[in-house]
Amino acid sequence: MSFITKSPWIVHYDGSSCNGCDIEVLACLTPMYDVERFGIINTGNPKHADIFLITGYVNTQNVDVIKNIYRKMPDPKVVVAIGICASTGNFFRECYNALGGVDTIIPVDVYVPGCAARPEAIIDGVVKALGILDQKKNKTYVAPVKPEGVII
């Protein structure tokens, strides 16, 4: 058990979300859910962060930004796609400016479904990400093979 699971720091990026999932992410910090119980802190700075939370789908404007933030996070790190848009691109995936879900440009470790995702689900997703962080830290992580042609 490494310390990284006891102190996961988060950077949150709003891709092109409708703000529904963002509000739910921030709701996790409120006294109602209080994620600091698990040592989780929203840092707002990728260089300090371990977990990258993305809401919203990827479009041509923010593709570089997401790649940039991902690259500036020190290893080991995990990416959590929050909500259906971040996970698959939702019904925006056919839009003129959309590239699809986050996993079209960077590897995603945890998908949190929902529109919008509920705070409980988000916390659940982050806790799941901790297991992956631990594996990455110990270099035992094997990325699962993504099933082809499945549209959720």
């Binding site: 310390f3 990284i4 209080d34 600091e36 119980r37 040592g39 707002g44």
Partner: protein, 289 residues
């Protein structure tokens, strides 16, 4: 030999004590906000985690090197303080340490770090006069600049002679502990206008060094507070704890100041409480003679 043991005790105990203090800080802060809060040992988890992470560079230069200097000189000034050396020298060494943090931020050439570094310098300029006035005040009250002899001489009389200096020092303590309203240069809390200010570009182990150095910094500042009541350790420790609690309360009740208000208010407080206290003390002594 005794000095060596004191130095060793300082180096080993400070991270433990100040880490725990930071843990209590976070729990109390959470309670004040109606939250449950992290475990007590959370600050240790954070630092140990940071050491597990990858370190990053932002340009060809290894900026962590300045941060190592920051930690080393912070520990050195702490050792000077807790082995009872000259208080002025302690403050100068303390400043030297802080300068290295600023240099690390400057060397990254990152816009957010740069603004953070400017603000950190501004905070140093705001806090420095009060620290030196405290040293001069303690000298006037105890006739010595040496921490060792101040500690042995200080009694109830010391605080009665230096109430203004003590209040001024509490004001400065907020700056030095990086608490709101003076957390302009970097903050423990997320979402500030310059990302993380000074520490923006420090990843993993680099950031851990800053955290540890901050524990030592806290120890020195609380040590100076302790010095005013050194005659009675029980009172002194309780005053230190109360002071720390008040800082947490201020942290949670104030919005961040702008730099102008920070500079003006701290210099004004320094002059009105610290400076006038010294002048009154001087007049009292003249009258006595």
């Amino acid at each position: 030999m005794k000095l060596l043991l004191a130095a060793l005790a300082f180096v080993i105990l400070t991270p433990v004590v100040c880490g725990l203090l930071a843990g209590f800080d976070r729990i109390i802060t959470a309670k004040m906000q109606g939250r449950y809060g992290p475990p007590l040992l959370q600050p240790f988890f954070d630092v140990l985690k940071l050491f597990e992470k990858e370190n990053l560079m932002v340009n060809q230069f290894y900026h962590s090197f300045y941060l190592i200097c920051y930690l080393v000189f912070m520990v050195a000034s702490g050792i000077l303080f807790f082995t009872g050396q000259d208080l002025l020298l302690v403050i100068f060494a303390f400043t030297l340490a802080d300068i290295f943090l600023v240099l690390a931020a400057y060397s990254t050439n990152s816009p957010f770090s740069f603004i953070g570094a400017e603000r950190e310098l501004l905070l140093m300029m705001s806090a420095e006069p009060m620290l030196l006035i405290a040293a001069v005040g303690l000298f006037m009250a105890t006739k010595s600049f040496k921490v060792g002899s101040i500690a042995s001489v200080a009694d109830l009389n010391t605080i009665l002679l230096l109430p203004g200096v003590f209040i001024g020092l509490l004001f400065i303590l907020t700056i030095k502990l990086r608490k709101s309203p003076f957390d302009l240069s970097t903050s423990h809390h997320a979402h500030q206008e310059i990302v993380k200010g000074v520490t923006t570009e420090f990843a993993g182990p680099s950031l851990a060094l800053v955290e540890i150095a901050h524990w030592y910094e806290t120890a020195i500042m609380l040590g100076i507070i302790y010095l005013f009541f050194a005659g009675n350790p029980v009172i002194a420790v309780s005053v230190v704890l109360v002071a720390y609690f008040v800082e947490i309360l201020i942290d949670n009740t104030f919005a961040r100041f702008k730099w102008e208000l920070t500079l003006k208010s701290s210099w004004a407080v320094t002059f009105i409480f610290g400076g006038l206290n010294l002048i009154v003390l001087f007049i009292i002594e003249k009258v006595k003679i």
